[in-house]
């Protein structure tokens, strides 16, 4: 049954499995219901229509761009939060994590009042001839806004788990802080960094509320796949379902990539592993 075959005490009461199964079903059942609705004979034409392909391409491109932006902004943020010590650190962390719990539409409105034509920075940018709102750039900004916390949280956790003992040793060996960051810190937290980036990408891919509010829904410019699905639902339910399945597939692939292998804090305990264990794990860090 559900009992673990491997040795060792599990310690989970049986009735927990029942509730856990209900939880699993709660997630799986709607997906199955959607798959059951797919119009299979028409599936290929539906997902390869011009508007669908345009939306998918735009989604992939903007998500890749916002993931890159998340890395550029999020890595320093995570480093500062994990390693630095300064007044207001807790407050900064709260604000960075705010988009996790904020309704995306609120994030979109906030971005509009920052980068919109009448916004805080938008007015200055307008004078300089730069218009951000309702452009592809706006899509990337909206996605970055909601996805950034995923990268920061994941990387900060990895940094804290890794600890700073390797960094201290590297410093006493004569490595400048930048060298320590490049040759010790980043390689040690690479798994955490990778899973953070993948999560950010997945969150960007699914972004809807902030994008619609801040960037609008202009085909080929700002209409990403989730917006396309929402729009198609009004007119062509079959197309909406088919595209939803595509999005599920992409998301599933991304999550599988991020959690490919259970990591057990290998970076800190690596020095104590037996030679056989090291062979088995095959140098997963690099």
């Amino acid at each position: 049954m559900a009992q673990a075959r491997s040795s060792g005490y599990g310690g989970v009461p049986r009735w927990i499995y029942v509730i856990a199964a209900a939880g699993g079903l709660f997630v799986l059942l709607p997906l199955a219901a959607m798959v059951a609705e797919v119009n299979w004979p028409q599936f290929i034409p539906l997902v390869t229509s011009e508007s669908s392909l345009t939306a998918l391409g735009l989604s992939l491109r903007t998500s890749a761009a916002s993931t890159a932006l998340c890395l550029v902004l999020g890595v320093p943020l995570a480093l500062v939060l994990a390693r630095g010590r300064f007044p207001g650190q807790g407050l900064l962390r709260s604000f960075v994590l705010l988009p996790l719990v904020l309704p995306p539409v609120v994030g979109g409105i906030a971005l509009l009042y920052t980068f919109g034509r009448q916004g805080l920075l938008g007015r200055t940018l307008e004078v300089a001839g730069v218009q951000i709102a309702f452009s592809t750039t706006a899509v990337v900004l909206a996605q970055t806004f909601v996805a950034l916390p995923f990268l920061v949280v994941s990387l900060e956790g990895a940094l804290r788990t890794a600890g700073n003992r390797y960094e201290a040793v590297a410093a006493t060996l004569g490595a400048r802080p930048t060298t320590v960051l490049r040759r010790v810190t980043i390689p040690l937290v690479l798994p955490g960094l990778a899973s953070g980036a993948v999560l950010s990408f997945a969150r960007s891919l699914g972004e809807f509320g902030a994008t619609l509010t801040f960037a609008g829904s202009l085909q080929g410019v700002t209409r990403t796949l989730p917006l396309e699905i929402y729009l198609q639902r009004e007119t062509d339910a079959d197309a909406a379902v088919a595209l939803s399945l595509v999005l599920v597939a992409v998301a599933a692939a991304v999550v599988a990539l991020a959690y490919r292998r259970p990591r057990s804090g290998d970076s800190t305990s690596a020095g104590r592993e037996s030679p056989t264990a090291a062979h088995a794990s095959g140098g997963g860090v690099t």
């Binding site: 390797y166 006493t172 020095g271 690099t286």
Partner: protein, 354 residues
């Protein structure tokens, strides 16, 4: 070419000064929490003292007054640190680990590898060069860590209990290796093992509660300890008090003993210590009479096997020890909590100024 440091950390009650001659190695010993690692971290630049000054070969390590002043970053100090755990970078090969220091100093890749290979040969680990740290045993990893620290050509090598995490087979090997590479090199080594102090260090410094309890040549410290910690290292009982006439006053107790170093009358009123080996102590259930014997009324706290004897610890915190035969322990019915008398002949007690 000098090294000197004086530093205070108020929050830890730490205030220590130390200087080393070129090529000199000093062993730091003391109970847990005495400030041994604090001293090393201050020298390495990983911990800011509140005040103090440090200098290494004409370079100011730090010069601080109430937390402000000059401060040299750890990577500019030339003080390589070797910790209890090897802490080899897990994502780099053994060779890349050893080459890390020279590479960080701007040495070209080719030359850095060459010097890394030389140091690996020095620690007899050449055949490990292409392995990952996870594929090394504890002893091998620590040898590579020694090579990595030495490859930076440190002006001062800091060793924080380098043998503590090794098993009993690997430790002697590393000790021999350290003896070879520390010869003529300036180093500070923290250790719990008196053997390290004897083999590797020119002198020993005992830290207690963030202060220097005593320091001097290792042999001298072990022969006539003046701190309880050093007496414990030498396996001796130590009672401190004030010198008086021909003995030592400790509380309301007067202890008689030999004082060959100071013939005649002892300088009364000065602090002094009485030292005697546990093997010279006899245990009685009733007070023994007749000088020249010293008798201490104590309560047994612990019994533990000690070779073919039983070591009886007594007094507050088990400060005094006596070695008795198992038969004697059984005859006396020794158990923790029992009130007994520790009796030691004056001839077996040595008294000298603290």
């Amino acid at each position: 070419m000098t090294f000197s440091v004086q530093a205070a950390v108020a929050a830890r009650g730490f205030d220590v000064s130390l200087s080393l001659l070129p090529g000199e190695t000093v062993a730091i010993m003391g109970p847990n929490g005495a400030g041994k690692s604090t001293l090393l971290n201050i020298v390495a630049g990983l911990l800011h003292p509140d005040s103090g000054e440090g200098e290494l070969d004409g370079k100011t390590l730090f010069s601080l007054e109430s937390g402000r002043g000059q401060w040299t970053a750890p990577h500019r100090r030339g003080t390589a640190l070797l910790a209890q755990e090897p802490l080899l970078f897990p994502h780099l090969s053994v060779l890349e680990n050893v080459a890390f220091g020279p590479r960080s100093a701007g040495v070209p890749r080719r030359d850095a590898r060459k010097s890394a290979l030389r140091w690996l040969a020095e620690v007899e680990a050449t055949e490990l060069q292409s392995r990952r740290p996870a594929q090394l045993s504890g002893g091998q990893a620590q040898r590579v860590a020694v090579a990595r620290a030495l490859a930076t050509d440190p002006g001062l090598l800091l060793l924080d209990e380098p043998m503590a995490a090794l098993d009993i087979h690997a430790a002697p090997l590393l000790r021999r290796l350290l003896k070879r590479v520390l010869a003529g090199r300036r180093a500070i080594i923290i250790t719990h093992d008196v053997l390290d102090a004897l083999m590797l260090a020119d002198r020993v410094m005992i830290l207690e509660d963030g202060r220097i309890a005593e320091q001097g040549p290792t042999r001298e410290i072990l022969q006539s300890p003046r701190s309880r910690f050093a007496a414990g290292l030498a396996g001796l009982n130590l009672v401190s008090g004030t010198l008086a006439g021909h003995g030592l006053l400790a509380g309301d107790l007067e202890i008689y003993g030999q004082h060959d170093e100071l013939p005649g009358q002892l300088p009364a009123g000065q602090p002094g210590v009485a030292v005697f080996p546990p093997s010279a102590v006899s245990v009685f259930l009733t007070a023994a009479h007749g000088s020249p014997r010293n008798s201490f009324a104590v309560t047994v706290t612990d019994l533990e096997p000690y070779g073919d004897r039983i070591r009886v610890r007594a007094g507050d915190g088990g400060r005094l020890s006596a070695d008795v035969t198992p038969e004697a322990a059984a005859d006396l019915g020794l158990v923790p909590g029992l009130h007994v008398y520790f009796v030691v002949k004056a001839a077996a007690v040595t008294i000298y100024p603290a």
